[in-house]
Symmetry: D2
Subunit: 445 residues, 4 copies
């Protein structure tokens, strides 16, 4: 992932050095388990741990390059790493990796990396949730127009809008927890997964120490449906980010201006047009969502490996594992900050809400008319006609309010006077269940 969208903590998980350190940890744990079982000398495991630990800890750019240089000869990454470690550990190193395959190390390492990444992503979602919860509470009763199809529909509150996104991110947190469980398994089962050369108790030991579950049936590799489910979940989370980003982009439109991304001192909206204040963060998030979604299908295509395993998944994962996690981590952090600092204009919300002459109360009128005995068809026609008469003359000198247009209809006027109609259209009714919905959304789990 390009540096622009990379945060250091997530990047570190996928750095070459960290990968090598996790490899060593897996090898050292396996050696200790083998020593306990008597498969290799206890002394060897001790030496591996004692001499290997500082060597692994020392891995920096130069060491990575040294290991890569060996790989250019062996054309095999794990063998290159073991060769390099052996230089520091000495002859006892020959007891490392006994009965293991590269995949035992690589796949368990990936599980460690993805679980750590999942933990960061869950934190990221929780930061978004916290921002949304705070702002939702702040604007719990702030009236704003609800829009369906981009058209004014009925009043809602800005807090309710945010609460809906909170509910989605809460689901996303739960999905990420499930996705974390999907990929948190350890496989140390040897060639084609038969344990012919490695005792299952070694796997159990490594798994326990690393906080992973034992993979019930690996075939040299951890089955890739797990990873597919993981990356698919990232795509769902990314799409939720896009939904909220799209909302902000709409709210910041010049004609709407109900909210704005925080505009920094010194920031320039446009090189050509100094008046511009653009929703660039939410547009950026929209693009990042496309990116993360794009990684879902390659992960799905990785599932159908040939026989016990092939290695076609490897190049895919070398790219999408860091890229999807890093991009999503960045997007979540950006979104949380953006929502924390979002500038909200309640007055403008009220102006927009009232800008259509009251037609947004059409459904309440429709209900009142039918309850007053007018047939549904007739009531609908009356309300639609009055709404159109209002709507089409908005801002014109001859404009009249929705209520006035309604009262022009004799069937309406026979049943309601202006005061009665005002009671029917009282916006208080629109907010009567705000507490109910908040209670549902923010209920403890």
């Amino acid at each position: 992932m390009v540096p622009r969208y990379t945060r250091p903590q997530m990047e570190a998980i996928f750095s070459p050095a960290e990968r090598f350190r996790i490899w060593f940890e897996i090898e050292a744990l396996a050696a200790e388990a083998m020593a306990a079982l008597g498969t290799i000398p206890a002394e060897a495991a001790k030496v591996i741990r004692e001499r290997g630990t500082p060597r692994a800890a020392s891995i920096g750019a130069a060491e990575v390059e040294a290991i890569d240089a060996i790989e250019r000869v062996t054309r095999h990454d794990v063998i290159a790493f073991l060769t390099w470690m052996q230089e520091g550990i000495g002859p006892e190193a020959r007891f490392m990796h006994q009965g293991l395959t590269s995949s035992d190390v690589l796949d368990t390492c990936l599980a460690v990396q993805l679980t750590r990444a999942a933990d960061l992503l869950i934190e990221g979602v929780e930061a978004v949730m916290a921002a949304l919860a705070r702002r939702a509470e702040e604007f719990k009763y702030t009236p704003t127009i609800g829009r369906s199809h981009g058209i004014h529909a009925e009043p809602t509150t800005f807090g309710l809008k945010l609460a809906g996104h909170y509910a989605e991110f809460r689901r996303n947190r739960d999905r990420l927890k499930a996705a974390r469980a999907e990929i948190a398994t350890c496989a140390i089962s040897g060639p084609v997964g038969t344990f012919a050369s490695v005792d299952p108790r070694i796997e159990a030991h490594v798994a326990e120490k690393l906080g992973l579950a034992v993979e019930p049936h690996s075939t040299q590799v951890i089955p890739r449906d797990r990873h597919a489910a993981f990356f698919a979940t990232l795509g769902v989370v990314a799409s939720g980010i896009e939904r909220l980003a799209t909302e902000v982009r709409h709210l910041q439109r010049s004609e709407v201006r109900e909210a704005e991304e925080f505009f920094h001192a010194g920031q320039k909206g446009s090189s050509a047009m100094p008046h511009k204040r653009n929703p660039v963060l939410s547009e950026n998030l929209t693009g990042l969502a496309r990116l993360v979604r794009g990684y879902v299908t390659p992960a799905l295509e990785n599932v159908a490996l040939w026989h016990e395993r092939d290695i076609s998944h490897s190049s895919v994962e070398r790219v999408i594992a860091p890229d999807a996690c890093i991009a999503l981590d960045f997007a979540l952090a950006r979104l949380a900050g953006m929502m924390e600092k979002l500038t909200v204009y309640p007055e403008r919300m009220r102006e927009n809400l009232e800008s259509l002459g009251g037609v947004v109360h059409s459904q309440k009128v429709l209900l009142a008319l039918t309850q007053a005995g007018i047939s549904r068809e007739e009531a609908y026609a009356a309300v639609q006609a009055a709404a159109m008469a209002t709507w089409t003359k908005l801002g014109r000198p001859e404009a009249r309010s929705f209520a006035e247009n309604l009262l022009d209809n004799p069937a309406v006027a026979a049943r309601f006077d202006a005061a009665a109609l005002a009671r029917v259209m009282d916006p208080a009714r629109d907010f009567a269940q705000v507490d109910t919905i908040f209670a549902r959304v923010f209920a403890a789990t």
Copy 2:
């Protein structure tokens, strides 16, 4: 979905008539709840139920066409349906749909349809699991070569192969159950989801009667991240089908011939080449997996609706909801049948296993050499050289077995004789943990 890939039970769920019947059920349940709350006359709810039930039950092709004809005027499907129902119910019909929006009906209906579809898909996965469990037990100890990269690696058993797929389908069943829970929610919350015109207790009643949860926060629509998660899960399941189908395609290759799809009497493999027996079912399943995967991204793109809702998701779901469910349902049924009847050739498996002169035991030799004190590097070189000497002369007059080539190496010969080497390469070691793995995979949950 084309008839060729459609099974009637799944198709019925998505038929226009069934959709209308579910709509009526939602409207009738809502009316009963409104009557109980005193919002509409109790008599009205009774009439709606009594006169509406037979009318809804009567819906066939002609009635669908009649409703569609009304829609061509109103350009609104739910209003067309209500108008048509009113003809049968009479004036009390005006109490139907009071305070509801179309989405309340449409989205709750889709939830009913998708939960039913999920139930069928879970059954389908369980049928695959049952077939795999039976065949895995049948071939639990049948030796076959395990292959990594398409290359012979080490022995495994055919039962272990099948058990691995069983484990994946078991995960897929659990994923489908989670996906079912994702979309099993009911929303009856009125315009922009504020309950301004519909009491939340109506939603609670409808949800309970339909076996759904209440959607904590709908914004006129049920949020589409739920559906995205659902269809993404279908994509994961489809990819698992592809993995097993790919295995069968490989096993049936002319050079492998370890298993074959059942070939029916009268079946013709090729119009031109009468000798052909092609793995057409598993190839077909491979294609169907691509189809189902293709529906994932549109579902993800559906998440970011504008504001409280737009209707861009509707055309997508009209197509992919039935198409994805129907194609996956068909694929699961086809796969279960295919695995039930798969013709397996254990003798051919044994021939293939032994065809490479014993090199498939190279890792066991490698381990033995290192444990006998040869350095890992030297042992690797010795084993690789002997393997290549064996491999490259296979089937030639000058061919020698892997063991013979190994014993040519003085370092090996100094530590092992032919008998000792045979013990090292004893295939029994490869199968020692079959029971362990089966116990893990088929453990009750």
Copy 3:
């Protein structure tokens, strides 16, 4: 594809009956070529044509069912068809299909179907182009605000907007023509494409009569990169539809109201809210675009068939070939009609254009200031400050115009008076190149 999004002419291309008729045409043409080469008796080809033509023409629902019934035994569709044809043709039918494979018939048939479909799609794009050209001319000089990031930027004209979409659809027409050429090839090359049993002159004859090119190298199948390129092109066209649909959705927003989809007499925008007039057509088109895009990846996955061919592509194409073509055909027709009848509100465009107090002319002022000797940095700061002062007080009693705020700045006032500033901000400059751009876009090709 569901009937709702299906137009009869496109559907007919992919109907089972039409497919069988094309199969017969290919077989009859091949037989005639074989007769000319002396491979089969001339009389046989004559009988095949004479008796086969009415039989093929007669194919309706019952005949399709009869052929399908045979397929349920043979499990092979081409053999089933040949068997059914033989009943009508008599013993000479044995000279049909000699040396051919099913793929020769199936793939050439698909080429015929997709070229016809491409022709309809090109017509569809041209209808959109015609509508856009007419409306672009109509509103060539109608001022409207150009928006970047959803924020008012600088004036443009509504005709220019439409011309930009015209240019895109013109590119899409050219892409569709190239895509048509991609798939317009004929393969009659027998098993694995070696012509071992069928003379290449037969292929040449069939290709010529069907208006197709000869496939230079088929391997029993026409290579699927051609189809992948075809369906990828459909995805690009669909995305262009989405772009225009998104524009209309934005223009119809309640706060913008610069254009509206035609609203039919009798149409109901919402079952609950009679005041609603929703951009449902363009929302629908947005969804259809997602659908068509979703078919691209399965087509790309179809490329990597095994060896000379496998049949995994078949189930994919049975679904996506009709579905992608039908959905795109429908979308193009809907879009053309929608743009033809789009209600445009030039007055509202002017109101929006002027609603921000003149800040949309900021770049012209910035240029004038720098040309008057103010440094770019200083000028930018001055313009940005004046714009923000204007913007943030819009609609407030204390609101002042952008020009007034600019003149508050001494550096500006030192160089410009109000009249000079008005000249700088003259909107006429914004439209000076409209003719130039129109000439480029609508240049004959």
Copy 4:
């Protein structure tokens, strides 16, 4: 893209330093055109060029960091760059970028980068074509079994196989040339693309100097359908790589062993199993193809920008433009080298070809029988029965050849003796059209 899959020449195109240098070139060219038109002083353009050129040329890591530091304040990349350039150019720098928008620079720069990338990709495809042409000629008449469905079908030659892939890559070259033309346009049209502040002749000058076409209608941005078509083409090319890679993976299977990737001295196939020689390059290419395909959908989603432009496409392109080009460039180079050095085993091909007792000639026998007067149905049954009798006893003591089994059938024996049957099955017929096909495929264009 990770370093492992990155080649320096392609990486350089997308480096930050190179991007800044292209930006400067665009700005300098624009300034020269403005000077020629008298919009800015001629001296200014001269100074910009003279002082700017060395400054731009000097850009290294430190300078990139300096520019980025400015961006962290301005939050605008082009303004940051201009500010940094101004430090080196002096006050004349204020005449840079006059009337331009950032997009003029960014989009024209991307066009320069993508055309250069396309040139490298075309070279890459041509290298693959050259390797395939050479090897196709080498094995033009080398018999090998053609396989449909993975099942032996009829003989073909290895040269024909390779020629088919050559034909596909030739199409891919042509597609890349078309894709290059798609994105090779220049836009210098100012805010919302109206040329209100920039004369169209400036655009014409810059376009000509950069070897680009003028974009007929930009709306501040170059329309993204162009880029979508470009990246979709990369997805098609990648899928063609996967098809060839899949062929090699199949040929290297242990049971097939007809070809092998070159195995380097010192290479290790497996850390655990020293006997392994795995097709790791082609597996790697399979994964890379998935990656490149994954970038297609984000590019398609980028098309529907809002109004005249939004910036959601930017984050997508910052990642996929380099990543897709770099990954495909690497894959093409790897593929060309792999095919150059592929080890081919003609003897093994012959063994496999003959391994099924002659049933691969079934279609020639079928044709001969029908031409000898047996009905197609009867002939098919006879051939299928003999093939199955042969097939199912392969390698058994009771095995008999396909010819022997055929002659057991009285209807066959009545018309053919063993010698006649041998003539019918003569493999020479299978290769009669090899020259024809080669002539078609390698015809000059």
